[in-house]
């Protein structure tokens, strides 16, 4: 896409427009971030004043076996979340992008899990997936299948929680895709129908390429969101069993608000920030050098 940014405006206009954003960014976001960055070089229990300890928080993190496991859990969770929410989100958006009388109702219903509090979602899914008296267990038992411990088996728990998160958030990427789909004009699609393109061909040759800016946007947002999994993990597994669902954000919470190791929590958060930052940069790089020719 060719982006014409001629100087058609006064030099002050952008800054004037951005003034509220910049004030908010500075006071409520950047100052706390810089502050937290400084704290990552300290030891602080909130009670006294922070003690400067150099790099020791970072050194401790990378020398702890549990931390490395937490790191790989985080990546696995994100992978499942990003792939799942893009595929299901896109599928739902295409599915529901029609004009029928009750469509508003169906959209709202599919969006319901997004707005339901994670605590309630956790309680309900723990019931559904629980052993012995859980719903899934009972259904499978009637078919003479022994259900695994969805949340009790260290090999399965992370996949289970990540899948529930995909279930919860698919409606979110759905509405993002939906507003992108609205931008594709009916004429283009109708022209393709005249050309005799099948539905599947139309989707892959026209809809998807035209949607690529939206796909890029949802991908970026999903990557960033995929790390924000504290609430559901707290409600479902509390990081267990055997550390198998402990993620970086959960670890940040534990250290900041349960162990009161604010310095260490900040260090972990900045490890996470660097990681997400690199992924996002990569994503922007791909957008510029690869997605562009599709236009």
């Amino acid at each position: 896409m060719k982006n014409r940014k001629l100087l058609w405006h006064s030099r002050f206009a952008p800054w004037l427009f951005l003034l509220p954003t910049i004030i908010g960014l500075l006071v409520f976001r950047l100052i706390p971030i810089v502050w937290a960055f400084v704290l990552s070089f300290t030891q602080w229990s909130l009670l006294g004043s922070p003690n400067f300890v150099g790099l020791s928080n970072f050194i401790e993190a990378f020398n702890t076996e549990a931390f490395l496991q937490t790191f790989s859990n985080t990546i696995e969770f994100s992978l499942i979340y990003v792939v799942g929410s893009i595929i299901f989100g896109l599928f739902l958006a295409v599915l529901i992008n029609i004009k029928i009388k009750s469509i508003a109702f169906f959209r709202a219903v599919i969006y319901l899990p997004v707005v339901t509090s994670a605590v309630a979602v956790g309680i309900v899914w723990n019931w559904i997936l629980g052993p012995n008296i859980g719903l899934v267990h009972s259904i499978l038992a009637n078919l003479n299948i022994t259900a695994p411990y969805w949340l009790g088996d260290p090999k399965l728990a992370l996949t289970t929680v990540a899948s529930v998160q995909v279930w919860k958030m698919a409606g979110y990427s759905m509405i993002l895709f939906l507003s992108g789909l609205q931008g594709i004009s009916a004429e283009t699609l109708e022209a393709a129908i005249v050309d005799g393109a099948s539905k599947v061909q139309r989707f892959f040759r026209i809809t998807l390429p035209m949607l690529s800016p939206t796909v890029f946007f949802v991908l970026t947002v999903s990557i960033i969101d995929s790390f924000k999994n504290f609430e559901l993990i707290y409600a479902m597994t509390k990081g267990g069993p055997q550390n198998s669902t402990n993620t970086l954000v959960y670890d940040v919470y534990l250290n900041a608000f349960v162990y009161y190791r604010v310095g260490y929590a900040s260090a972990v958060a900045f490890v996470l920030l660097v990681f997400v930052g690199v992924l996002t940069l990569l994503n922007f790089y791909i957008k510029r050098h690869w997605a562009q020719p599709l236009e």
Partner: protein, 281 residues
């Protein structure tokens, strides 16, 4: 949306829509069902807990308790006020920001935008403690301001989203504006803003939901019970030694209803926006 424009529906597609809706709504129905359970019944060990309050004279006991004794009416008003303000503000500020980043060239554009993206990536769990100190210094504790102002001003997600959208608007529109001699404000207000009702409505929905479900900030910033938001009110059902799941689920059901209303109202603009724009092609 006029009734004439309805699509013909492929039955298979309709069936798929219904299946998707069922998968989404099923746990919610479970919540509704359990909101008619007494505390004794909800912890029973059967798979299907047949609600023991259903069709009894005290059928709505949980709802009465939650709204009456636990004051959820007040909390709902608080939440609507806070989220409404924060989200409206976010939409306005983000359309401005998105427009600037997509359509204006100036030194520092990349720096500011990158900083904005970075703020999205830092987990709130770690910035919240410094943020708390800032709110304390501003003397904003026990007011709604810490819940409204930052969300209002620093909507990084929304700015990013609208930037992506404004970039897709054809350059012809910009050229037409330049020929008309429109200044920046007119260009924004008369030419670009009318194009963005669909993404603006989407952003409004997302911002409203995010603010509504935010728990960490209300927990830290509000101690006066009269200021509680709905999510904060829900925490009252879990204390150190006990948990009232039936009331928690009742409260959850109640807290979702306003969101459904907001969603149905706002998503109308998503569809209307598509009809008025037709901008790509």
């Amino acid at each position: 949306m006029s009734n004439k424009n309805f699509d013909k529906v492929n039955p298979l597609r309709f069936v798929l829509i219904i299946i998707a809706a069922l998968i989404a709504i099923f746990p919610f129905l479970w919540m509704v069902q359990n909101s008619f359970n007494t505390e004794q019944n909800i912890f029973s060990k059967s798979v299907f807990k047949i609600p023991d309050l259903l069709f009894k004279s005290n059928m709505f006991e949980n709802y009465q308790l939650v709204i009456g004794k636990y004051n959820f009416g007040r909390y709902t008003l608080n939440s609507v006020f806070v989220c409404g303000l924060a989200s409206i503000g976010q939409v306005i500020i983000c359309t401005l920001g998105g427009f600037v980043f997509a359509r204006m060239s100036f030194k520092g554009s990349k720096v500011v935008f990158t900083l904005l993206l970075i703020t999205l990536m830092v987990p709130v769990q770690v910035t919240i403690i410094p943020e708390y100190y800032i709110m304390m210094k501003l003397n904003w504790l026990d007011t709604f301001l810490p819940l409204i102002v930052p969300s209002f001003l620093a909507g990084a997600f929304g700015t990013f989203m609208l930037k992506e959208y404004f970039e897709q608007i054809p350059d012809a529109l910009l050229d037409a504006g330049i020929i008309d001699g429109a200044n920046a404000w007119k260009m924004y207000l008369h030419i670009f803003l009318p194009q963005c009702s669909a993404p603006a409505a989407t952003l409004f929905i997302i911002a409203f939901m995010n603010n509504w479900n935010d728990l960490l900030r209300p927990m830290l910033y509000l101690t006066k019970e009269s200021l509680y938001t709905v999510t904060l009110g829900l925490t009252q059902f879990q204390s150190q030694y006990s948990a009232k799941w039936n009331l928690l689920l009742t409260g959850s059901v109640l807290s979702i209803l306003p969101l459904v209303i907001v969603f149905i109202f706002a998503q109308k603009y998503i569809i209307e926006g598509s009809i008025s724009s037709g901008i790509k092609g």
